[in-house]
Symmetry: C2
Subunit: 202 residues, 2 copies
């Protein structure tokens, strides 16, 4: 987490405090979901974990649904920061294919912790492809495929690379299919290598 | 469409007539969706097209939702018949990779015509992976990958092969992404070839 996550107004102490409080509450929410799963995410638990009154949490997020949306946005922003400005291999500096593999591992990590929240978002009224976060990830992956000099229909290959990272699929595989997270990561990395390897040896 | 679609009781004329009427109504429904899109599928239109009273359609399917479910089931059964017992390349007799490519083309064809119905089904309450039809398609594709002697995690590769055929994805690509059906089919065939080609030349 860096200060860059939330651009602050110039020296406005009140807004600065508000931003800090918001981050404090969201960090508490992340820790709760991490430890107890999505069901552990209640307004009460967040308040007590962050050491504030329950009213503060309600004033900030309106409802548990609002808190969940803010949490997803928080996680997504942190991931975007990491792949755009963070250290390699996720951030700039590593070869594109290594960055792509690191991106997938990071995504699986997020789904393992916040999968239920993500699944609800994916299956909500509007198309899952309409989410701004989805577009950012799509652009990032397409750019890496181009940088890796992959030949072919990059747009459709990007869909193919991203499909197995979708929370709905991952949760189904982990729970109903009883596959392990390690197997999913390994299988996805193998898929990426198949998709990106050149047609014939030079 | 063959008689095998609906197993009939032994010589029971009444049940035989009922099955025939059902098929008559469903064929009318398929034709309507084909010509006018999903919005053209009304109980009235099916009745008038099949030359029966509206009451007959309601008695048979209960509601428009019931008709839509029956229609999806009808299409799915016809596709299953084709890949299990029909002529090659979709049915037995062609090399497994050719059968796989034919399966994808057939799936795209179904989505183009009945995409809206399929998308509703995919995004309904229960997981899209819970549908019996999904399991049949999954088993078929996994079997073809094995028969083609593809090495690797066949279960996860099957998910990767099937993901781009999902109605939710295809409709998004056709409408919001303005991709053409031809491009989707070509891109999917290319994906299958990348996934199935051997690691290194012999």
């Amino acid at each position: 987490m860096t200060d860059a996550l939330l651009p602050l107004a110039n020296g406005d102490t009140e807004r600065c405090d508000a931003a800090r409080n918001r981050r404090l509450l969201l960090d508490a929410a992340v820790a709760l979901v991490d430890e107890r799963g999505p069901d552990g995410l209640t307004m009460d638990a967040v308040a007590s974990r962050a050491g504030v009154g329950k009213g503060t949490v309600f004033r900030r997020f309106g409802s548990r649904a609002g808190l969940m949306l803010a949490l997803l946005d928080h996680t997504e922003t942190a991931l975007q920061q990491s792949f755009m400005f963070g250290p390699p291999p996720l951030g700039p500096g590593a070869p594109p294919l290594e960055r792509l593999l690191a991106y997938g591992r990071a995504r699986f990590g997020v789904v393992e912790v916040q999968g239920e929240l993500l699944r609800s978002a994916e299956n909500s009224g509007s198309s899952r492809f309409a989410a701004p976060a989805w577009a950012v990830g799509f652009t990032h992956v397409a750019g890496l495929l181009r940088a890796a000099d992959v030949q072919g229909d990059i747009e459709l290959l990007t869909y193919a690379v991203l499909a197995p990272l979708e929370a709905t699929v991952v949760l189904h595989q982990l729970r109903d299919g009883r596959l392990t997270p390690e197997r999913l990561v390994r299988g996805w990395e193998d898929l990426v290598l198949r998709i990106t390897r050149p047609d014939s040896p030079e």
